[in-house]
Chain length 139, copies 2
DNA sequence: CAGAATCCGGAAGGATACTG
DNA sequence: CAGTATCCTTCCGGATTCTG
């Protein structure tokens, strides 16, 4: 998640801030942005796609997504659990067993994620070419 | 955009023969994540939706999105321009006039953005309830 | 008008070490 | 096995000031 300001301090009235704060309450923190913010978290997409195939244990996820440190993986899982997108099931045993699984809410987000993936795969080439052209014009 | 590590050029190869770094090149920086990263930028969603209604001048955008500082608005517009999602047209005059407009590529992204918006509006309630429940269990 | 340049606090994310 | 705790670096995003 980017450093999105939680909620503006009540009386922090700077010169031009009044309308800005009110606006943010309406738009910057609107549902769309909140969801985009969560989906934009570095490892959320990968975790969601990984769990789309079915429940997985912590270790499995860690091996499937080696790029994520255990700190980031855990943080990502915790946030998604808090948002109700996945469930965490602890099985007391020796050693402990923890399974993660998408909730119905999490499953309902998959089509959206797939829409992004489809657009990305089809258009990333154009984006790259646009970047090259832009950078060529002026570094 | 989050601090997503830039990754070297594409070197498609067998999935399992690759090291951790190579894995990141394939997945952490895959098209989906690159697009999610850009869409997750704090003001990208609002700018895109604002320009969905047609071309706008810099000042209009600034007034439409008062939550964004000039720096962030400009930075957002520059990045979207670099990615080929919008065009920037400077009309030499006194004073200068600059218009921003979605490119066909940018327009093609709107349905995806709308899909996110639709999901968000329909499910943000569940997310909020899930959070309350989670926080109630343990702060 | 439409920005560029600068300073700054703080959040994000990674690496490492330790634990029930 | 599945985390927690800690430290550290990067850099995002806001505020302010200056310019063609």
């Amino acid at each position: 998640m980017t450093a999105r300001t939680a909620v503006p301090p009540p009386a922090a009235a700077a010169p031009h801030a009044e309308s800005r704060d009110a606006y943010q309450a309406d738009c910057a923190a609107c549902p769309t942005n909140r969801v985009l913010d969560r989906m934009g978290d570095k490892w959320v997409g990968l975790v969601l796609k990984e769990l789309a195939g079915g429940p997985q244990r912590y270790g499995e996820l860690a091996r499937s997504i080696p790029g994520a440190s255990q700190k980031m993986l855990t943080q990502t899982l915790r946030r998604l659990e808090r948002d109700g997108l996945l469930s965490r099931t602890v099985t007391p045993a020796v050693p402990v067993r923890v399974d993660y699984e998408l909730t119905p809410l999490g499953l309902s987000l998959l089509p959206v994620l797939n829409a992004v993936t489809r657009w990305a795969e089809q258009n990333i080439g154009q984006v790259d070419r646009a970047r090259e052209a832009y950078d060529a014009r002026q570094g």
